[in-house]
Symmetry: C2
Subunit: 225 residues, 2 copies
């Protein structure tokens, strides 16, 4: 996996950006600092002007990479899911036992993030926090149908599909594999959010990932008779 990832680039739909931020130093600084700033001040308070100031660049230069901050958020969350997808695929494709495979998949999705040295300008730990706290805003918009048609969310959708297929392999008679998959994927983010802000609304305690809850949920549901 180490070797393979060395030459890997997470491919993001070209419609999301004006100019590929991976293609230049400035682009990488935009990604690097925007992650840190969105995490620190929240997506609403974050602006391209502030980002420009932070990276010692100009607002107008950032607009040459992203049309607006919404598309930057779509880019960041897509990148995150692309990155998780790699881990998911590499960690599960050698597993032939369908139960073990699904279990592993849910664990990969739930487990705390560790920094990945292959993408130096991206802090995956911080990016995960953005996904937990802000990523819903990338699709809870009036433009969601157009953007979906334009492929803005393909990576996330592929993740749900992969999980759904694994669920189906465990129990082909189960009636709601896709709903269970999307519930788990969204639920993991939500439980992580609750853990940090509404601890009375979750059984996952701090510094514990919601993996056990969802593994238990999935297998009890699928193995019920």
């Amino acid at each position: 996996m180490e070797r393979l990832l060395q030459s890997v680039k997470i491919a993001i739909n070209e419609k999301v950006y004006v100019k590929d931020p991976e293609s230049s130093d400035l682009g990488k600084r935009i990604i690097e600092k925007s992650i840190l700033m969105i995490d620190e001040m929240g997506f609403e308070a974050f602006t391209f002007k502030k980002l420009g100031h932070e990276i010692g660049s100009n607002e107008s230069s950032i607009y040459r990479y992203f049309e607006n901050k919404h598309k930057l958020l779509v880019y960041l969350t897509s990148w995150y899911w692309g990155w998780v997808e790699y881990q998911l695929v590499f960690s599960t494709n050698s597993i032939s036992d369908v139960d073990e495979k699904l279990k592993r998949a849910i664990e990969i999705i739930s487990k705390p993030v560790e920094e990945d040295s292959h993408f130096l300008h991206i802090n995956e730990v911080v990016l995960k926090r953005i996904v937990v706290n802000e990523s819903s805003k990338s699709f809870l918009t009036k433009e969601v149908d157009i953007e979906n048609k334009d492929g803005y969310f393909v990576i996330y959708k592929r993740m749900v599909t992969r999980l759904s297929e694994m669920i189906n392999a465990v129990n082909p008679d189960y009636l709601y594999p896709t709903s269970l998959a999307s519930t788990i994927l969204e639920g993991v983010q939500h439980q992580n959010f609750l853990k940090d802000h509404f601890h009375s609304l979750t059984d996952c305690v701090a510094n514990e990932d919601p993996g056990q809850f969802f593994v238990d949920l999935a297998f009890k549901t699928l193995k019920s008779h």
Copy 2:
């Protein structure tokens, strides 16, 4: 239930508003039209200026009821959950069988909304769409911890607690009653969203509520042995 609701007012935390919108005609028009406008144009495009124009009033007058549109959204979602809570309590408190009670509760939470003639200025069908499409934005903010401390989300939290207690009654040995409750409550909204915008990510088809999926999920999880 008809009789009881006639004199009922959904009580919202006073910190959420400057002046109680239920206390005047203008206040009620603010609520009535804001629901329709947020649904139509989305929360981002919605402004107090546009609302003022729509209700034939002035922007500055609206500020006398709500400090900003974020608090109006908190008000609207709180009202919705307060309204659902009433239905939940009245529909389940006479049920002694714990299984039947939980099943009924999940159905109440999931079932399509019908207009309630007791609150003439509130279109509950439209309000439910706002909850599905926008309500996450009411807590996905940097101010969530302060607002939570100030009791902005008590009604929603009480809903999760109620559901959690019902889950616990069905199976006291189950380890994650609160996480299951919060997953169901959030999951219902998410499945409804997917049904409208990402039908490939759900097994709930249009015009069908996600109730069956969640009832099945809850009971298979709790009755597993």
